[in-house]
């Protein structure tokens, strides 16, 4: 377009300039509006995408709920299994303690028997605090005599007890 506006009358020139300025403003406004339209378009698209996404999630929700319910159920089941396993374990430990006690008793009896075979007494009795060697010898001899007596006593227990008063009387009249 010919920018030479000198051959136009003054008022027309002014009008043209004014219109041109207006046009620039309108164009920039149009640009702005177009941009806004584009933006709105964008956000609308985004919102649609969001909506679709959320819709998909909502659609999945029952699945999630179900799977979390399943998980809870399986946790419960595992807990119950664990409780049963613990109970079984406790029962087995209890049995083990009993079996060990039985085994120990048998093994200790075997030890006692081995010790007796070796010529000693199973549960080592405690010797009195004897002072002199002579005392000890005397005690040993007396013990031998006592054991012999005990042997006789096991054959005559009742009569020994029953006749004790008689023996006392006999001694008195000696």
């Amino acid at each position: 377009m010919n920018d030479d506006l000198s051959d136009l009358p003054g008022p027309v020139r002014a009008e043209l300039t004014r219109l041109r300025a207006e046009r620039v403003v309108f164009v920039s406004e149009r640009e702005k509006l177009l941009a806004q339209l584009r933006e709105a378009d964008e956000s609308a698209r985004e919102l649609l995408a969001d909506r679709d996404r959320l819709a998909a999630q909502v659609a999945e929700l029952p699945e999630t709920v179900r799977s979390s319910e399943e998980q809870t159920a399986s946790i419960e089941a595992l807990r119950a299994e664990l409780a049963t396993a613990r109970q079984e374990r406790d029962a087995l430990r209890n049995e083990l303690t009993g079996t060990r006690a039985e085994r120990d008793a048998l093994r200790l009896r075997l030890l006692d028997a081995e010790v007796v075979l070796g010529g000693r007494e199973p549960s080592a009795p405690v010797a009195a605090a004897s002072t002199s060697g002579a005392d000890r010898i005397a005690a040993a001899e007396a013990r031998a005599a006592h054991l012999a007596r005990e042997l006789a006593a096991t054959r005559a227990t009742v009569s020994w007890r029953v006749t004790a008063p008689l023996r006392a009387v006999r001694r008195k009249s000696r």
Binding site: A83, Q87, D90, A91, L92, N94, E95, G98, E102, A105, L106, R109, A113, T154, R155, A156, T157, V158, S159, V162
Partner: protein, 582 residues
């Protein structure tokens, strides 16, 4: 010359074993070609060649004075001695034997002792008699009892038997422990004659323990067993010869006999050898016919009745046979402090009477006011038809171990219902459900409440102080009875509740307690257990008094801790409590 007419006389009211023994002797004499007959009570009229045989320590002490034989008859009587030196009965025999014309003795040691005292006595070797043999020698014959024991209940032996319970747990066991009193017909714990031999022929092993007084081998019992192929396991004994330990029978320390039985039960080769050797020995190694001949010869020499005898020593008059049979005095009571009629002797003070009444009131009030609350722990496990009721009272140990024992058993109970009667409620428990009573309300109340949650056909009733064998439920169920119970091991008495329920015995002593399996309809008919606070500690005694039929499973399947309950009405005012039961 024909052999004389031997008349073997046993006393009326004497031991049935003596009668059986004289029957055996008579039979042996007949097989040896002589003549013999048995009689009871008064001496039968003598024939021209009659010679009598009696067991003096019993005959002269049991026979009524009027029936005692005249001195002329005694000149033709042979003493048949069976007792060991060192016993009172041996001393009786020795005192009497001089008044009889002749004597024979079945034991080597007593024969020696009598001879030492200047008595002319022949040894009479007992041996094999077909009268006792129910087996016949077949090594393949089946036996349904693994280990058996026959002997009166007595503290020392009960303690030993209790000690074997773990070792014998896996085996089929029958322990026959009758009370120490005159026995009559056959019972679950007493088998005379035929029944005894059949039982021995049906058992693989017999455990033999001595009575308090003597250490000599019980020859008659051992012969009965060996004749029937029952292998004998005995504690150390005198007078074992001519039997050989290790070959014909097994000798082991008293505390180890259980372990020995369990070990031999799995060593069938050794068992077979022992069985065969024992049988062979009694058949061929013991000269009963020879002894019978000796007896005949001795009798022949006395037929003329001219033997010189001393007069009878003074003898006590035998007590008139009581109308009521005497009860054994040493049956252990179930309760640690109260023993029934014998505990009523003590005098009760005013304060105790009042305290008893107060205690009853307190419990009555508690029964109305106490909080009760159930807590479920585990689901029921249907299948076995048995629910277990356990009540824990103050002073009793926690039943955790018992619950684990039951859960580890061969038969699992459906429900284990636990009541903490005044004891703390556990936060975690292996029981099916736990009922917690804030205050102690009584065992009866507790059990009745537990019963409401039970739905099974059978109910197993236990207390917290017990521990159970793996086989408890299985074996009580197998008894298939309205009520089944078993002996219970006790650290002080050895065994408690080892007798079947008997009316006259229960009227004197509360010897039965818990530890029984009962059919639900029976409980329903009874209306559960008594809730009377006065009868605290005796609820099971009341139960047993109303039982009609029951079975005693004769194996120790329960152990109890020595109970020490806090003071109860029966400790304060026993007369009142006992009176209200009877």
């Amino acid at each position: 010359m024909t052999s004389p007419d031997l008349c073997l006389v046993s006393a009326v009211g004497g031991s049935v074993f003596m009668e059986e023994l004289l029957e055996v002797v008579a039979d042996a004499v007949r097989r040896a070609g002589g003549r013999a007959r048995t009689a009871r009570g008064r001496f039968p009229e003598p024939g021209s060649d009659t010679v009598y045989v009696v067991v003096p320590h019993e005959y002269f002490y049991v026979t009524p004075v009027a029936d005692r034989p005249a001195p002329e008859l005694l000149r033709r009587t042979i003493a048949f001695c069976v007792e060991h030196p060192g016993t009172m009965t041996f001393d009786r025999t020795a005192a009497l034997v001089g008044s009889l014309a002749g004597a024979v003795d079945i034991n080597v040691d007593s024969t020696g002792e009598l001879r030492r005292r200047g008595v002319a006595v022949e040894h009479f070797q007992l041996g094999y008699t077909p009268l006792w043999d129910r087996w016949g020698g077949d090594p393949e014959a089946d036996r349904s009892v693994d280990v058996t024991y026959l002997g009166t209940a007595e503290r020392r032996r009960s303690l030993l038997l209790n000690g074997y319970s773990r070792d014998l747990d896996e085996l089929r066991v029958r322990l026959l422990t009758p009370p120490h009193e005159p026995m009559g017909p056959e019972r679950v714990d007493f088998l005379p004659g035929e029944a005894k031999f059949a039982h021995l022929a049906n058992s693989r092993f017999l455990i033999n323990l001595h009575r308090e007084q003597s250490k000599a081998l019980e020859w008659v019992r051992v012969l009965e067993a060996l004749t029937n192929g029952c292998v004998v396991l005995t504690e150390p004994s005198t007078d074992v010869e001519p039997l050989l330990p290790g070959k014909h029978l097994v000798v082991a320390s008293a505390t180890s006999l259980g372990a020995v039985a369990a070990a031999l039960a799995s060593d069938s080769g050794r068992e077979r050898d022992l069985r065969a050797a024992g049988y062979d020995f009694v058949r061929n190694g013991l000269d009963l016919p020879g002894s019978a001949q000796t007896l005949i010869s001795l009798a022949t020499s006395l037929v003329d009745g001219r033997a010189e005898v001393a007069p009878l020593p003074p003898l006590p008059e035998p007590a008139a046979s009581p109308t009521e049979k005497p009860l054994a005095v040493d049956t252990p009571s179930w309760d640690p402090r109260f023993a029934g009629v014998t505990s009523l002797d003590r005098s009760v003070s005013e304060a105790e009477v009042m305290a008893c009444a107060l205690a009853v009131e307190r419990t009555t009030f508690a029964q109305r006011a106490s909080g009760r609350d159930w807590q479920d722990h585990r689901p029921a496990m249907p299948g076995s038809g048995v629910d277990v009721l356990i009540v824990q009272r103050p002073g009793e140990p926690d039943p955790d171990g018992l619950v684990l024992d039951l859960l580890g058993g061969t038969v699992q109970p459906e429900r284990i219902l636990l009541c903490g009667d005044g004891t703390p409620a556990p936060t975690r428990s292996n029981a099916t459900a736990v009922l917690h009573h804030e205050m102690p309300l009584g065992r009866g109340v507790a059990r009745n409440s537990l019963l409401e949650r039970s739905a099974a056909d059978h109910v197993l009733v236990l207390d917290a102080g017990l521990r159970a064998s793996r086989h408890l439920v299985e074996r009580l169920l197998a008894a298939d009875a309205d009520v089944a119970h078993c002996p219970i091991g006790d650290p002080k008495s050895g065994l408690v509740a080892a007798l079947p329920p008997e009316r006259h015995r229960l009227a004197r002593i509360p010897y039965l307690g818990c530890g029984y399996l009962v059919r639900r309809p029976v409980l329903d008919k009874l209306g559960g257990w008594t809730a009377d606070p006065l009868l605290e500690g005796l609820e099971d005694h009341v139960f047993w008094r109303s039982t009609e039929s029951s079975v005693l499973v004769q194996q120790v399947l329960l152990q109890r801790q020595l109970p020490d309950p806090p003071v109860r009405p029966v400790d304060l005012h026993p007369q009142r409590v006992w009176a209200s039961i009877c």
